[in-house]
Point group: C2
Chain length 160, copies 2
């Protein structure tokens, strides 16, 4: 089972897209600035997200990425699946050949857990996240900081 910064970054970036959907295509440079994720790393992630049909791209000046579907039709599990290989908790990938061609003792336990996690993440759409008050709060703060570059410097300075 794999659930690391990679999947977190992907979900965060997708949520950023959903929050700014009304602005037209969003460049990765914008997301990079707002969310503090390396631009080149975002490029790698979005390559996979595009291959999975979760986003579509617009090239040229003013271009960027947008969600391929509406936010209520994109689920967190799909995003994590797109950048990681899977959210499978078993070592055998469900093939039951964990221990020398046979099932290991705890095979069914990890199968159940995988189902549990996948079920949870499959029930949460981007629209759900966008609707959450805490998310809107954080997003407002980020947009604020983006709009006023001088204040951003001041904020960073005050953190040190």
């Amino acid at each position: 089972m794999r659930l690391t910064t990679k999947g977190r970054y992907a979900v965060t970036a997708m949520l950023d897209l959903a929050l700014h959907a009304d602005r037209g295509p969003i460049s990765l440079a914008d997301i990079s600035k707002r969310q503090g994720i390396s631009l080149s790393y975002l490029e790698q992630l979005f390559s996979r997200l595009r291959q999975s049909g979760l986003v579509s791209s617009v090239r040229g000046p003013g271009g960027g990425y947008r969600l391929a579907r509406t936010g209520d039709d994109i689920y967190v599990a799909q995003i994590v699946d797109a950048v990681n290989e899977s959210v499978d908790a078993t070592s055998c990938g469900g093939n039951s050949d964990c221990a020398g061609g046979e099932q290991c003792l705890t095979h069914y336990l990890w199968c159940d857990l995988s189902e549990q996690i996948h079920g949870f993440l499959s029930g949460i759409s981007l629209a759900h996240l966008v609707a959450r008050a805490e998310v809107q709060e954080v997003a407002r703060r980020q947009d604020m900081r983006e709009a006023a570059p001088e204040e951003k410097v001041a904020v960073i300075g005050s953190l040190q």
Copy 2:
């Protein structure tokens, strides 16, 4: 969040202990043979399991490890916690300083997920696993294979 072979090995080994609790202390060499886990690696894992008070050890010939409590008082979550640092899915460890001193957009999502996983694994005890028909089936096969034909008589004799 971290859930890898390390945690799987630990749970498998603990379940092996629970299954053979009636034989007295179980040596790591036995577990290594039955479950196909490196002996030296098991030593590392059991060092942590012992520090966490999940198992007790008996040194010398005929020695080994046994569960420190009964199987219905040891939960999978405790085992995973003992060998990994945590089953926390957030990057900040709940400190809300994920994105430059502030909460990242998806902070609450990962908090919820952590709670979900921990809740699931906290509800499953070793006794639950031992009771499962599939587990007993696999365990029976492993015990059969463990004893070479000549040794089977001795094993059966030692059980009486």
